[in-house]
């Protein structure tokens, strides 16, 4: 049962990913990324990481990708079919695919030769445990992320304002 869920979820994640890079309409690519997120969140749930799964759905699928959707819609070409030649850098297509395949082999080689006997059991990653770790061991990095987010907001506002005043 668990392996069935695993293969279904990773299939959804991988198919979504392939659809992201090959879809003819930008909106469709975005929606397949959301589908891929759902597959990934299921994988996190199988791994026992409840908090990361929910944060992934809320932060990524809920906030970040909706922001993307807004920008694609504002740009006004979201639902338009992009022809093959304008969709990809055709000159580099073969070279890029070759490079990625080589990179994949490079990643997978050590992973496959690794004899990790440990089955990925749930690590008790409840929200409580993550919250406790965040506010004790990782307090300083956690506070720094709030500063980073503030800087992100400021940068976004500054970039948008500058164009307005021109």
């Amino acid at each position: 049962m668990e392996s069935l869920v695993f293969y279904a979820a990773s299939g959804l994640a991988l198919l979504g990913a392939v659809s992201v890079i090959s879809a003819s309409k930008p909106t469709r690519a975005l929606l397949s990324l959301i589908a891929s997120m759902f597959g990934l969140s299921t994988l996190y749930l199988i791994l026992g990481a409840d908090f990361v799964a929910m944060a992934n759905l809320i932060v990524y699928a809920g906030a970040v990708l909706v922001l993307f959707l807004f920008v694609i819609m504002l740009q006004g070409t979201g639902a338009r079919e992009v022809p093959f030649l304008k969709r990809f850098s055709v000159f580099y297509l073969a070279a890029a695919l070759l490079l990625s395949a080589g990179f994949l082999i490079l990643i997978l080689k050590p992973v496959l030769s690794l004899s990790l006997s440990g089955a990925a059991a749930g690590s008790g990653g409840s929200t409580k445990a993550v919250g406790h770790a965040l506010f004790t061991d990782y307090l300083l990095p956690f506070e720094l992320t709030s500063l980073l987010l503030l800087l992100g907001i400021l940068a976004g506002v500054a970039l948008a304002k500058r164009e307005e005043s021109r």
Binding site: E2, F6, S10, A13, L14, A17, V18, V20, I21, P26, A29, L33, S36, L40, L43, L47, A49, V52, A55, N56, V59, Y60, A63, V64, L67, F68, V71, Q75, K86, S89, Y92, L93, A96, L97, L99, F103, I107, V111, L112, L116, A119, A120, A121, G122, S123, G124, G125, A129, V130, A133, L134, D137, Y138, P141, L148, G152, A155, G156, A160, E163
Partner: protein, 100 residues
């Protein structure tokens, strides 16, 4: 139980897919989307490692990756909107002001 290697293989394939997307797509927004894909692949391997060793640190790292991705998207999308306004295009082949 599913061995942790399977998760790492899925993460590797996801990462390579994202890399392909960055290299071949011409729309700037879709290149940003491919970067998101790569960040998520990294997250998956973090969480798998966390489950393997039975401690929580990997999940905390995944949380930090998510926060940084949110900040990156804010700035990246603002730049993309500005580019679209000034060049009337999001195609990387038509934006070549920096070309020498």
């Amino acid at each position: 139980m599913i061995p942790v290697t399977h998760y790492l293989i899925v993460a590797g394939i996801l990462f390579a897919t994202g890399l392909t997307g960055i290299l071949i797509r011409r729309n700037i927004l879709l290149i940003l989307l491919s970067i998101e894909l790569m960040l998520n692949a990294a997250n998956l391997s973090f969480v798998a490692g966390s489950a393997l060793h039975g401690n929580i640190n990997g999940q905390v790292s995944a949380f930090f990756v998510m926060v940084i991705a949110a900040a990156e998207v804010t700035v990246g999308l603002a730049v993309a909107v500005l580019l679209f306004r000034s060049q009337a295009s999001v195609d990387t082949n038509t934006i070549k002001n920096l070309k020498g």
